[in-house]
Symmetry: C2
Subunit: 440 residues, 2 copies
């Protein structure tokens, strides 16, 4: 049986783009055998056509003129790998107008300006595929669209940003402060020169917007997501958490309660060291999904990098060539702009357990005062820890963990605690996230 040939154009011959070309060269035969589709990289456009890449292209394929790709009617699928949200947006619109299906790894673009792009795609009767935009090589978009399509999803928990996870893992392992670990991560290439969008949680939220949209069947906007980054994480709290059996992760959380209200948030989270997500270390990503039929399913793999991301780009190309992507695209909730489940819970109404670290003068009655304030706001203490000895200025850190508490009660209690004359500085407050157990 002969394989059908599908011609592809690629814009952006950087790291991931080179990876795509490398996969098509090295694994093209295997792909053709497995799927019946021979993928031909017919045109690659980049403004830099001289710097050597990890892969070399046949003569005539590389060009600095993107119109060569756009005008080639034989190219069915165009890949956008230029990044950013301005030029990339125009490019995707132009690709669609030229009659091409679009593959992109650009989560910022889709989560911030997807609506306009999806409309343009529907109008052009083409699709936009974005497996590579979330969690690198993990086929999670495909799992949510087809593999788990028999389920109503009640929750998803994810570690979506390799840079943050690398930093938190290394702080935990080495006991080194945030700034030093970030510097080391930059030196090793695990963090960008400007890591703002990673460490402030924005990148994680971009991915949550896309995946939660698929999981819960509604269009999610960035403003629907509460975001705290890891920039203020202190090593003392990681250590205290460890002592109590917790590991600190930057989690993306999407939960749908019994009444159908959605809670979407990204924040540093203590998770039990027993939960599988606690073991996801370094630059790896993972997604834990709860479905009403399947129970708990977890996916784990490299969240970024040349080849892992390129693996997902090529998976998207295959789905488009098979016709699956196109058929599902026009049904996607973010595309139909449906917001049926779009009943979003305010962060104030979230119920969570909390970890508190309060620095106070080492004097009698401190614990009693904390207890009074917390009790007044209906907050029940589940654990407490105070090490002997005191720090500079004879202050001592007291660590308190709470039973499930409404966020707004905690905010009020924190406000009051901070005003106690014995308390030094702002108490540290980190959510403890209890990932449901799918037990025997």
């Amino acid at each position: 049986m002969d394989a059908k040939t599908v011609k592809i154009g690629l814009v952006g011959f950087g790291t991931v783009g080179s990876g795509v070309a490398k996969i098509l060269q090295e694994n093209g035969q295997e792909i053709a055998e497995r799927t019946g589709i021979r993928l031909e990289l017919a045109c690659v456009a980049d403004k830099d056509i001289t710097t050597p890449r990890v892969v070399s292209l046949p003569a005539g394929v590389l060009t600095d003129d993107v119109s060569q790709l756009l005008n080639d009617k034989s190219i069915d699928i165009a890949i956008e790998l230029v990044g950013g949200t301005t030029f990339a947006k125009d490019l995707v619109l132009t690709m669609l107008a030229a009659g091409k299906h679009v593959v992109t790894a650009n989560k910022a673009l889709l989560s911030e300006q997807g609506a306009e792009l999806y409309r343009a795609a529907l109008k052009a009767r083409r699709c936009i595929a974005f497996e590579a935009s979330c969690c690198g090589g993990i086929p999670i978009v495909s799992a949510l669209r087809t593999g788990l399509a028999a389920n109503q999803i009640s929750a998803l928990y994810g570690i979506f940003n390799g840079t943050c996870n690398y930093i938190l893992t290394n702080m935990t392992r080495s006991g080194t402060a945030f700034a030093d670990v970030l510097k080391a991560a930059q030196d090793k290439g695990f963090a960008e020169a400007d890591p703002t969008l990673d460490i402030d949680g924005t990148d994680t939220a971009h991915k949550l917007a896309l995946l939660a949209g698929l999981a819960f069947g509604c269009r999610i906007e960035m403003k629907d997501i509460h975001i705290d980054g890891i920039q203020d994480v202190q090593i003392d709290d990681i250590r205290n958490g460890q002592e109590m059996g917790y590991v600190l992760k930057l989690l993306a959380i999407g939960e749908k309660d019994a009444a159908g209200q959605l809670s979407l948030r990204v924040h540093p989270s203590f998770v039990s060291e027993e939960t599988p997500l606690a073991d996801v270390d370094g630059p790896f990503n993972a997604v834990s999904v709860f479905g009403n039929a399947v129970g708990n399913v977890m996916f784990y793999g490299r969240g970024a990098g040349m080849m892992a991301t390129a693996s997902a780009v090529v998976a998207d190309i295959i789905d488009i060539a098979l016709g699956t992507s196109e058929r599902l695209f026009e049904r996607m909730p973010m595309v139909t702009e449906k917001r049926k489940a779009a009943n979003f819970k305010k962060i104030d109404d979230i119920v969570s357990r909390f970890y508190l670290r309060i620095m106070a003068k080492d004097e009698p009655g401190v614990f009693a005062k904390y207890g009074q304030v917390l009790g007044k706001h209906g907050i029940s203490i589940s654990g407490a820890m105070q090490h002997e000895g005191s720090g500079p200025d004879s202050t001592v850190p007291v660590v308190i963990t709470t039973h499930p508490t409404r966020q707004k009660n905690m905010a009020a209690a924190l406000n009051e605690l901070q005003r106690l004359d014995i308390v030094r500085g702002k108490p540290v407050c980190i959510r403890i996230v209890e990932i449901p157990e799918d037990k025997e």
Copy 2:
């Protein structure tokens, strides 16, 4: 946009069959919105049409006459959930001859008699889908066929049998012997009344045959797989392994070496307690896949049970209704009966680390004798452990772990060790499997 209606027939209204009906009733609306396909369960055939199930069907749907289903031309997709390999085989052939695509969860049937069924399907221009046959609700068949299709797969490691994993987990946790844990598992419904095919490794091998066939692109027969079960596992060895940092699992292993030789085996395996598969407990399944682009990807979830398996059955129905399954089916290596990579490594030629426990008389020179025998066969010791004190008949267990060793050398050494006059009984020998690390 209206959803297209697809009619489905189901034969076998047992546990999984009831789960399928339940999903279609409870999640049908969600599925239609997500995929554009409205699934209608038009006919359910079972010889027992009186016992109440967890779900009730509309009047006229349940029948004890399978021909009602076969003769209904409006039914496009037929689900075989009767189990076994004799009646089920005839049934699948009849379904195909009646022009229906077939969905089955029957790994025994496909791994043992797939060739004939695939030929019949190709002839009838229909497909056979089997997501539910491997690892319950984990979408691993789909991942290997499309999600990871950009990769050349070098290895897969899996925990595929919930009964064995439940037994090993509980032996490890409670320190109870195999027979007692098996009994308790049967009482709780985690093991069949006749658990032979589970504990002897056959069920795991059935799944390995299917998944390794997809991963490595060749038809795999049961005779190509070396199989050892868990029936002889002793609690002492689990304990010794724990002390040395290992967890005992029944692993399915598929590895392709640099020369393209395939090693396929199922056996009790010590894995490092650090490796993610070590944390897969109880009735859960997991699959760890290594691809040349994606690196390591792991999938985790419920390997069996009514709803998890039904989730996979419905995922297959969706893929067929989308047209994906049909297009990929005729390419599947087991279907085309390709055996291109079918260069199988003999178990004698496998190189592995080993754990040995040798019972011997407590007398001077024992260690030296072991060392001589192992050294003579070129086997290098990597660790040794002997606890003080001796057991009945003043015998002492000595535990030795080796560096990587060819199986045939180990077999020869064991043979010789067993003949030493100081040695009591047959030494215990368990492979230590080093799952590759995909490190930063």
